[in-house]
Amino acid sequence: MWDSTTINMLIEGTGATLYMTLLSTLMAYVIGLPLGIALVVTAKDGLRPNAVVYKVLDIIVNIVRSVPFLILLILIIPLTKVIVGKSYGSTATIVPLTLAAAPFIARLVESSLQEVDRGVIEAAQSMGAGLWTIIWKVLLAEARTSLIVGATIATGTILGYSAMAGTVGGGGLGDIAIRYGYYRYQTDIMIVTVILLVALVQIMQVIGMKLSRKLDKRITG
């Protein structure tokens, strides 16, 4: 049964999983990063406190985060159809993945930015730095290690979600595991897909941690 078709299928599945995961992560950061920054800036002790904006963002993030991913996936099928043109396959999965991951990423970004020493922000203000300079050169630059660790966690989570999307025809390794392992009782193929998923998470984890350590200048030596 380990013929070239199966192996090709697994290779293609791995490719599809990577494609979904990486593109979704990227898209989710396009939404989640500004959202996280906005949460920090408008918070009560933020640079531009704004109770109304903060509360609205806070509630939106909480609502989207509370909806179980599988439900969200089905719930937004109409939206997915409008954006991608169809509701199944790898590309279509990117829409719910992005939407589910964005608020999660916003929280990760928020907590990373909150770690930045208030004194350093105050120092930048005392030099006459404006809001954007502080966001760009102080908040994001000083929190970069923590942000990369966050991105590593986010990528791993999105990879897990993408496998879950397999149950409703999402494509990728999760899809293969469900179709062959579950519906056709081909346990060996399921095990191989699981091993491949584990390996992908491992590789991402190692790369992320290496990168964050390399960029962290707070540690001596």
Partner: protein, 336 residues
Amino acid sequence: MDTMIRIQNVSKTFEGKESTVEALKNITLDIHKGDIYGIIGMSGAGKSTLVRCLNFLEKPTSGTVCIEGKDLSQMTEPELRETRTKIAMIFQHFNLLMQRTVLDNICFPMEITGCKKKEAREKAKELLKIVDLSEKAKAYPSQLSGGQKQRVAIARALAMDPKILLCDEATSALDPTTTKSILSLLKDINKQYGITIVIITHEMAVVQEICSHVAIIDQGNLAEHGLVEDVFSRPQTQAAKKLVFQGDHHHTNMTGKRCIRIVFTENSSFEPVIGNMVLECKAPANILLADTQDINGIAHGQMILQLPEDEQIANRMIHYLEDRKLTVEELENYVG
């Protein structure tokens, strides 16, 4: 003399959920060009709030702050930022960017003002020479000692050619030797560039070391201000006296009623018996009368001591003296 900073009737109130805190109450103070002005007070007196009002990191609840005659509260946000570039600040915890090299930290304020990168780097190198840290240009703050970090912060402060340098407890996290060297650096900067320096501190020694003027802040009020010599030699208010005679509050009056007479006959005169007893029992004893003589290295004579009120400590003292082979005799109703 030109007035650099004019603080007029400045009050600052912090509104909490349950209580309001009046951090500053109606402070009026002039700081002249070229002064090294010390603002001293106990912790919580409001001095850190006051210094933050000088660059509007805290906006006063009422009153005005004028820098070179310009009222900060009348400025637009960009004008205020522009003014801040000329008011540098250094902090107790240095507040350097941890992910940037020393050189890039010094370039940071110049990036804000839009200085060309190459020029900024040249200037940063010059500034590192001034603070005597040229060899650390490529190091990161985590690799530096506290004193070195503060030197970098000073170089960073000088990068904008400030007219005013605010120091918020800048030496409080440093050891005495490092404090001295940082203070002498500040003094040089004041002399060489004519920068007006405002120093916030709770340490009298810092003010004595470099300040020309001093203001004493007590519970949000300006208790006293003037030339350092005047304030220190003739403190008028309770708050000023407390600060000037720092350390004196340890002295307590003896209230113990028990007095003893001790007779020296065979102890070495080189053994500090009473001193050791005080150290051992960790309580003071009052010498009411002492008539001892050193005769060929042996102490002869007598002393009368007033013991502390605490019965236990008093007994320990007597015990200690008896152990040292002294004759101890309790005196009833001794009047010294």
